[in-house]
Amino acid sequence: MIRGVPTPFAVLYSALCRLLPRRFRQRWAASMQQLVSERIAALGPHAALSRRLRVLAGESADLVRTAVREHRRGPDTYLPLPDPSRSPSLRVHMFQDLSFDLRFALRSLARRPLFALVVVLIIGLAGGATTAVLTLYESVVLDPVAFPEPERIAYGYGRSGQSNYVSIAPLDYLDYREQSRSFEHLAAVHSFHEDFDLTGDGDPIRLRGRGASHELFDALGVPMAIGREFLPADEAEGTRALIISHDLWLGRFGADPDILDRPITIDGEPTAVIGVLPPGFRWLVPTDVWFPLPFDAERMQVRRFHFLHLVGRLRSDASMDQADAELDAIAARLGTEYPETNDGWSVTLEPMTEAAGGDARPALAALLGAVLAVLLIATTNVATMLLSRSTSRASEIAVRSALGASSGRVARLVLVESLLLATLGAGAAALTAIGLVRWVTSSFATGLPAMPSIEVEPGVLALGVGLTLLAGLAFGLAPTLRLARGDVASALRRARGMVAQDDRARRLLIGAQIALSTALLIGAGLFLRSLWTLESQDPGFRTEGVVAARIELPASRYPFEEGTARQFVARLFERLAASPGIEAVGGTSMLPFRGGNDLYTTRADMAIEEEGSGSSPQFRTAAGDYFETMGIELLAGRDFEPTEGGWPPRVAIVDEQFVRSLFPEADDVLGRRLLLQVGDPIEIEIVGVVSDVMHFGLERGLYRWGSLYVPYSGGGLSVVMRADQTAAAIDALRGSVQQLDALLPISSIETTRDIVRGSADGSRFRAIVVSGFAFVAVLLASVGLYGAMAYWVAERRREVGVRLALGAAPVSIRRLVLRRGLGIVGGGLLAGALIAWVALRAISSLLFGIDSIDPITVAAVTSILAGAAMLACLIPALRAARTDPATALRSD
């Protein structure tokens, strides 16, 4: 054994010595190891480990080359070896050797194609799934943010009462920025996006924009590719300046180097491009343009409006917790200074990486657990299969040895075969991984954060494939090493002796596979149930036959005050209502599930300082027959009149949740007056009450302060139409808009069905994937069980023959086999149920409305596994029962 290096490495070198021809090894291996020891010792007692290992690595490579050379030469030739530097034919010889081994391996695998196919499929499926999940995990959880030192970037939400992820008011942000000492840069961004029309330079397109304070790109650590960032001077109302994304600069403006010198047309007005972001910059959601926040505008001066999030880069000496505590302290001060608006408000601070990957992380962690379970099952399966194969080859090997093949040579053949299987499996794994990732990212775009563009990276693929190859090698080496040890007779003896301990090992392995499959099946059942529960939630509006599209009416052509927007909408709805097939038409400022916009509202009959006088309902406009189209029931009072549009509004319709939150004691709220806190408070009267609507997805349920609708008066509108032919309705919409105003683009066409379904994407993703894994697991475990039972039966041919000869009925043999199989399964089931019960706690946050493993799921899982087990045992059982006693007793 080599001295001077850690034991594992010395063991590795000794193991590699096994590659040498036997006689050569017996004669020289010890001297070789001694020589290497002396070489390492010559480096000096204080030589770094890396140096020693480098020497060892070189020696190991030399050892492998020597092994090849010695094998090629054969044991008893005295021919002078051609100088490797002179003759190219050595390489040819090496390849000839390798190609012979490969051909032999291919032939021997071809004789048992099913075995080869199954092993390759198992490795491919398991390895591919592992790689896919690792890719997702790595992109989404470990490295979601491509900014320098992302762990020092904090993302801040507003917090009030039970709402932890709402927004912050602009003046509050300014106070935080001024008073906080924990940040190098503290910026604010809009918590919502705004859309703009880009015209000129091609077809009109809709751009997604977001407002940000001038520190944003400093905080993120992102320098502009071209131009500059915003300056404080840009943060004035009326500034028309944008920073555009790299993709937009490339795609729309052809990477124009003079983009900074010529204005572009946004919403009909010339707007300057002052900067272009670098390629690869990605925000939490896709964003085309950034504009500066006008801090001097009226709506920015009111502490009641919350619509900003914070983005801050921590100072090198500050921690996230310190910053969080500091901001909370400042918030508390603001709470006492401005009690009516700030009492009870503070800040939630999170690392940016969590904000980016946040929602998906627990799900991915659970998936990682599931996929590792499958990998475990798969590798134990492959191990069992290869072990069984090596045992059954013992006699083949014995014959070969008797015919003169050195055991080293035979071992090498087996190794090459295992490597071949592993390589094919790795190829299958790579294809599977790429396909899986592509499928996931295209089908579940809303379930994953948009921030990283997820592709299978060579590094992760190498890791996944590497794991697979390593597993394959390990299973190849194990039988190889067993075979290489010793001569024919002992090999045969060992083959017989292997039966007993292999049996126990096999039973344990299969039992473990069944246990893992059970746990996965139960998990799948829970996720499916959770999905079903989620999807049976009532969002509060129609999900069938309603289609929506977004129209933005730019203020430049539809000035607010003149009511031209209302006129346009009225005319549009007239045309649409007249279109055949359209049963109802309406519009709203923002569809459910498409964002939030709250507005602080107080009761006119209570003083503002009074407790319970105000709340922040979701503020929406309603146009046409919005409620009827959306299937939102009018419970009391009336809908808006066409004449009631215009700003400021005078009337409002609220939902039940609003009534519950602000008028808990009242029976009837019709006629009650409210004050909308927008600058000068606007007084409105409640004229109608409608049924509740969910605003933030199925999982979040009802918004705690409900909804408040006022008549539409201008600005963007989501048109909703009820029709049985949604495509025809959209055509009608396009046609009508085209006739009324050819320059208006229509965007975001979707049905309410899609909207609601999309909200469940995350749950659906989890349910489908875990079910998929469970299916694969059961398949693999069944295959493993089949293999184990077949082997068990084969080993007991003699015993079965004796029984049958003594008069046992075939049915008793069948029962014997089945009982044994079910015994293994039963044990596995119990263990699996236990695992699932423990795991339930960990995944309960991912399940909607489920807190326990219900008996139905257990019953379903048990029957599935029992059924699979029966099937797996069936063929061996039938074969055993049909054993011909005579042949069984004769053979051995």
């Binding site: 004669r27 001297s31 001694q34 020696e59």
Partner: protein
Amino acid sequence: MSNEHDIATLQPVTPLTLHVLVALAQGPLHGYAVIKAVARSSEGTVAPGAGTFYSAINRMEKQGLISELPGENDHAAPGRPKRTFELTARGRGLLQAETARLQRLVDEARAAGAMSAPTPRG
């Protein structure tokens, strides 16, 4: 005669073989000492790994160029003999034949002016 003919079939020898022959020409040595001598005489250009080295030793032994001496025990690893090798007569003969050949080569190179600085042309 047959001896020379035999030896001729072994020529030209590989650099490693030559250096081993040279190293052992001065007397029997054990494995690591041979390698050190080879490293020195080749000025570091011939530095075989353990496998290559013993592969060459194995071959040279089978070709009758060297033989192993019954060795004394290595004090560092009791029970493990230090393998000592010495040149055989045949090995000595090969060494002489090879050095003669190389000497003829060197003379020819010197005559062709390869040993002095190249004269500039044109």
